[in-house]
Symmetry: C2
Subunit: 92 residues, 2 copies
């Protein structure tokens, strides 16, 4: 799989809310009430990631969850990243 | 709670296996077969963390789980960190 063109990345990125460009990927911070709520979210992400066969890097720091999405095999962003970002945003 | 003395940190650190000193805390990388196994480990850690009321920073990158332990309220390492590190090592 090849990564998307700069124009296509820009177009898809504009459709997202609260995500940032970080290095070659996209990242978003989610904040919850406490660790338990953060972990509930992480487990929902895990389930969807397995379905999509695409996995964000996930960092949990007590009530904060930071996600990072990139397609390593494409050395950049692909449709898989934007698809999973949208799915994740609907989990909150 | 005050952080441990340098001598005490050294003594407790020597008791651990595979942990590194990183900034003011301790860190360890665990590698699993796949994402699912990594998440199983993360959920065990989450359970123990809630029991201990002490939570490591957890980063999941597909099959790799990196943990970071420090006691923020003490600005350094305390008995809580070393206790949880030992508990976590027994979960694998």
């Amino acid at each position: 799989m090849e990564h998307l063109s700069v124009n296509e990345i820009h177009r898809r990125f504009e459709e997202l809310d609260g995500w940032d460009m970080v290095n070659d990927g996209i990242s978003k911070l989610f904040e919850f009430e406490d660790f338990r709520k953060a972990m509930e979210f992480v487990n929902k992400i895990a389930e969807e990631s397995e379905k999509e066969n695409h996995h964000p890097d996930i960092t949990v720091s007590y009530s904060k969850v930071t996600l990072f999405l990139v397609t390593h095999s494409a050395n950049g962003l692909t449709h898989k990243d934007f698809k999973l970002a949208k799915i994740i945003d609907q989990l909150v």
